[in-house]
Amino acid sequence: MNFEISKEPINIQGVIDKVVDRDAGAINTFIGTVRETTKGKKTLYLIYEAYESMAVKKLEQIGREIQERWKGAKVAITHRVGRLEISDVAVVIAVSTPHRAASYEASRYAIERIKEMVPIWKKEHWEDGAEWIGDQLEQVPYPSGKPEVKDLDE
């Protein structure tokens, strides 16, 4: 189970352990954490929800895309759902590759793809209200009706 949605706090070392490989020289790990301040506004806590069965499939798809693009890569991703406090871990991505450059590139690819097309949503709670984040703060139009692979250098 390298791709998971978790209702419990994520064990980071557990995600890393899934990609350990005798022919890996590098493991890149990306950990998304709950930031207190966004655009000057103080977040109290977040609620993440997922279309869980589809989210797991889409994480698996990201894993396959990475293995096609970066030879020898191993990938594991766990995304948390439920209520998260400041500094809590929302997502852990671990990618092992033979050489280091690919581990950075593939890890970055994974987080960008998650933000593009994995059905997970967050609701930010502030002192004066709450809102589902998505098209409001991070405008993501889908002119084709489907998410496309974007240029990650943008």
Partner: protein, 77 residues
């Protein structure tokens, strides 16, 4: 019958995680029009659609038993 799922602000607008309805034979675009008449669905045009957990296009035709999900712009990560 078809199960139609709503998430995030759409779920708040509909007031349900999902509804059951007969959408077989309709295109996704037709289903969207129908739902817009029944519910006040903010920003419904920026929403993606999945049939059986795969993204689909507005032209795709819904089959008997398909699970339809409306996917607002995602914000995981």
């Amino acid at each position: 019958m078809n199960k139609v799922l709503f998430f995030a602000h759409l779920r708040d607008a509909v007031g349900e995680d999902f509804i059951k309805m007969d959408a077989a034979g309709k295109t996704v675009a037709q289903l969207k029009e129908l739902l817009k008449e029944q519910y006040d669905l903010p920003r419904f045009d920026t929403v993606m659609t999945a049939i059986n957990e795969e993204f689909c296009s507005d032209d795709d035709v819904i089959q008997e038993g398909d699970e339809i999900a409306f996917i607002p712009p995602v914000s995981g990560g």
